[in-house]
């Protein structure tokens, strides 16, 4: 019986909490509609496409390939990123470079973002710091899957 009364008390306490949230938030919403500015807002919502939250510096967003001074990709086709990638979404084709210090350059460098899980392993693995995920671009959705396959042109960008 006491246990039952305890439940009953908890039930009332629960609705008291939601009711309090409702009344407090409603109060701030009403003030806003009336044009009165308050420090607190009625909701914590960020209206996404119009308002954007600042992206943290370490946030992993769309990849980009870094370039040398002369504009060619820094990548030396060591295949480390391709090997480490858990989603197997990187495809690289090598070509011989005339510079013996560099030896190889990527003829094709394709990341299939429709499979990428944004783990950032490719960035960690790269010995040349040739690939980074710091473009801050996160709205990648498109209407076709082909658009998600990023080739060298789009990655060097």
């Amino acid at each position: 019986m006491m246990k039952l009364l305890g439940y009953f008390f908890e039930i009332i306490r629960g609705s008291w909490i939601t009711c309090r949230h409702f009344v407090v938030n409603m109060w701030f919403h009403t003030l806003k509609v009336l044009g009165i500015r308050t420090k607190r807002r009625g909701a914590v919502t960020i209206q996404y496409p119009e308002e954007k939250k600042e992206i943290a510096p370490r946030h992993r967003s769309l990849h980009r390939l870094m370039t040398r001074e002369d504009g060619r990709p820094r990548c030396v086709v060591c295949m480390l990123c391709m090997t480490v990638c858990p989603s197997e979404c990187i495809y690289i084709e090598a070509a011989e470079d005339s510079d013996p210090e560099i030896q190889k350059y990527p003829k094709k460098f394709i990341i299939d973002l429709s499979r990428c899980c944004f783990c950032g392993f490719c960035v960690e693995a790269c010995p040349e710091d040739a690939i980074r995920m710091d473009t801050g671009k996160i709205d990648l959705a498109t209407y076709s899957r082909e658009n998600l396959i990023y080739d060298l042109n789009r990655l060097v960008g």
């Binding site: 938030n25 409603m26 009625g42």
Partner: protein, 360 residues
């Protein structure tokens, strides 16, 4: 004769328009209220010509979406019954509005018009009967889909609704004993009187226990969280799994209509219906001796307004309940109904009888 039919027709149209508009906007209220409770904003994107007004167009956007969605009937389902089920459950809830008294009688051109569509002396029984029939829609929907999970959902729904129907009916026996009538309009008239000369003779003051039992049983009747066993989003896929488009929409509308009907019943039976405290047919008569006479039309308007206000409050309250509590487990629901509510309602009937015979 002809004019009588016309009056009934107009009343039906008004009643249904009121009912369906409120249903439509209750979906909006539900989304917005849950958002405000959870510190969100809620649906506010639907716009007409750049006008958003708090997302008030959202119900229409939802309706358009539902109409144009594919109406899919599984090949293994019984096509006829599968189509019939949502209409059944929608219909039986929609007709209950005819029993709800919206206000006092009004006089137009020497005619007395009662603001209740069906002015019969069994309206309370009529509402209960129709609400019970609405179970058929659920069971039929679950069964005709020929899917094990929908069948389970349907059976659970039937078991739950039948058990709570008992508590619902028994809790009302006490109310019928103190307001000796089965017509909701007469029950409202009875509640216009005063207790001890100052307290409105509302059902909540005469039958507090019956009110609690009715509240819980009625929440179970609307089959929403915390009593959402037929649907059971989290563990079982409910009776309308195989429905899509407008037919699914009708099941959803039925839920919201049940909320409104339950609010109407709570208002009518326990909170004086359209009665405003101390408001007589000719104006206010306050217990401390003041009189404030008002024209007849204003009194009627106040009463209809009071009814609407009370119904809105209970709709709000039910949405609050839905967004506060987690759901019961199946055996807990059954225990709660059979082992707590039904004995309590029997005790309530006994206590009411004893007190009434002592007072006489």
């Amino acid at each position: 004769m002809g004019i009588d039919w016309l009056i009934v027709l107009i009343k039906i149209i008004f009643g249904l328009v009121w009912f369906l508009t409120l249903t439509l906007y209750l979906t909006w209220v539900e989304r917005k209220e849950s958002a405000v409770i959870q510190d969100r904003i809620g649906a506010n994107r639907a716009e007409i010509l750049g006008l958003r007004v708090l997302g008030l167009f959202q119900p229409f956007a939802d309706a358009i979406k539902m109409i144009f969605k594919e109406d899919f009937v599984p090949s293994f389902a019984n096509r006829f019954l599968h189509t019939l089920a949502p209409f059944l459950s929608f219909f039986f809830v929609a007709v209950t509005i005819s029993a709800i008294p919206f206000g006092d009688k009004i006089q137009i051109a020497g005619r007395e018009i009662s603001l209740q569509i069906l002015n019969a002396n069994v309206t309370l029984l009529f509402v209960l009967a129709m609400l019970s029939l609405a179970i058929y829609g659920i069971v039929l929907g679950g069964w005709a889909s020929r899917n094990r999970y929908t069948l389970l959902g349907g059976m659970r729904g039937a078991a739950q609704l039948i058990s709570y129907e008992v508590a619902l009916g028994l809790s009302l026996v006490g109310v019928i004993m103190v307001f000796p009538s089965l017509n909701l309009q007469d029950i409202v008239y009875e509640q216009g009187e005063l207790l001890f000369g100052w307290l409105p003779k509302w059902g909540i003051f005469l039958q507090p226990l019956a009110f609690l039992i009715f509240l819980f049983a009625a929440l179970a009747e609307t089959k929403r969280v915390p009593f959402d066993l037929p649907e059971g989003e989290s563990e079982i896929i409910g009776f309308f799994t195989e429905y899509s488009g407008l037919k699914w929409g009708m099941f959803m509308m039925t839920d919201f209509m049940e909320i409104i009907i339950v609010s109407c019943l709570l208002t009518t039976l326990f909170f004086g219906g359209w009665q405003v405290p101390w408001l007589g047919p000719d104006g206010f008569h306050f217990p401390w001796g003041w009189d404030w006479f008002l024209p007849r039309w204003l009194v009627v308007l106040l009463q209809v307004g009071a009814f609407n206000l009370k119904v809105f409050f209970f709709c709000w309250f039910q949405v609050l309940v839905r967004w506060t509590y987690p759901r019961f487990r199946y055996d807990q629901v059954m225990d709660f109904g059979w082992k707590l509510l039904i004995p309590l309602s029997l005790i309530n009937i006994m206590a009411t009888g004893i007190i009434m015979s002592v007072l006489q």
